[in-house]
Subunit: 202 residues, 2 copies
DNA sequence: CCATTTATTTAGTGATCGATACAGAATGGA
DNA sequence: TCCATTCTGTATCGATCACTAAATAAATGG
């Protein structure tokens, strides 16, 4: 088990790849874009990550872990579901326009449409969004169990509403919306809370 | 002023191009995809439309006229702003998952991210979305003038909320959401109406 | 020391990208 | 009928795409 050791930091290279995919999306990011951003040559990239799609998969995983941790904590650790959603959504409103990284959510923006041969990449993205949706619904169900959300509330419908709004905020962020505007949109969405709770699915 | 007449239906070819751009997006649609769908060869395409970007511009214009007319009417012609928004949003909920065409809104999906050299294409898209947002705000202001929306309502913030939700619905449509689910999300959004009206900008 | 293993750089692969040169075909006007 | 004009299909253009063969470099094990 010997061999020449890798001369670059794999984690740092992956983070650089994540940044490019986040900014440009999967298909518009070329191998030369990636090798340039990662500071390595193509054969090193392929030896370390397999292929472009596998690299994207790892980048998306990293994104979920690195960028998803904070909002997940806010949602889960708030005393009530309502406070959790408000805190999580407000965090995203601020974070989506943070100039330290590309605007919006990578899991929404990096591959929504594209060529048929990249359907599997869009599947990775869709699965990621689905996990977020499920976490939203689970938090509402927990609120029902805890008693801070009225019984009979349609958790899935409510989760879908907030997930839909959050996904729209990524488009808004790319359109140049400000932190203030996104926060106002979150406030509007939270104003819908009382109108939704307690309403069963039709 | 003579010359060989065009041997194909320009409007039909443009409509076919719109369909491909709508399905795959701008960058993932190749010239060979377009010529195949339009039933013409590349030189005919370039003679009739100029270049890929100009063709996309015309396709986006056609999309706005063809697909935007019905929801625009619903928004404008309802007796109150609230009824207008409800009708327009419900129309989109149904139309976004109509199997007769690609899911979601072309003006949201066809070019959100991409290569820097296609920034102008994303600008066309952004302008289109901005026009919709402005129409939303104008309808709310009209409601204030008519008296069905309380004075002091922040029309722009309210418009941004519904535009954001609508944009998110395009993502949901691509994720396989059903008509029923999208309609439920619209109902949730309309439940926020009373919580928003009368609230000035902070 | 040498052998093995893995990573590196260089220099490409065939395929496809958007866009065109060119020659022939089809029209209206003279 | 002949010209000027415009559109047509064929056959490309150079550039770039994702990806890799081959030779060299750097590590460990013996």
């Amino acid at each position: 088990m010997a061999g020449r050791p890798r001369s670059f930091d794999r984690a740092a290279a992956l983070k650089a790849a994540m940044g490019v995919f986040w900014q440009r999306g999967y298909e518009a990011t070329s191998l030369s874009d990636l090798t340039k951003a990662m500071g390595i040559n193509a054969p090193s990239l392929y030896a370390a990550f397999g292929c472009k799609e596998a690299l994207f998969g790892e980048a998306l995983e990293l994104y979920q872990q690195a960028e998803g941790a904070a909002p997940r904590r806010l949602l889960e650790e708030a005393p009530t579901a309502r406070e959790g959603f408000a805190a999580m959504l407000r965090f995203h409103a601020v974070n989506y326009v943070d100039p330290a990284h590309p605007p919006g959510c990578m899991a929404v923006l990096a591959a929504i449409v594209g060529a048929p041969e990249n359907k599997s990449v869009r599947g990775l993205m869709s699965t990621t969004r689905r996990r977020a949706l499920d976490a939203f619904a689970a938090r509402i169900r927990r609120g029902i169990a805890t008693g801070d959300v009225p019984a009979g509330t349609d958790a899935m419908a409510m989760a879908a509403f907030y997930a839909t709004l959050l996904q729209g905020m990524s488009i808004q962020a790319r359109d140049g919306a400000t932190k203030k505007q996104l926060l106002a949109t979150v406030d509007s969405a939270m104003a819908a809370w009382d109108g939704m709770v307690g309403k069963k699915a039709r």
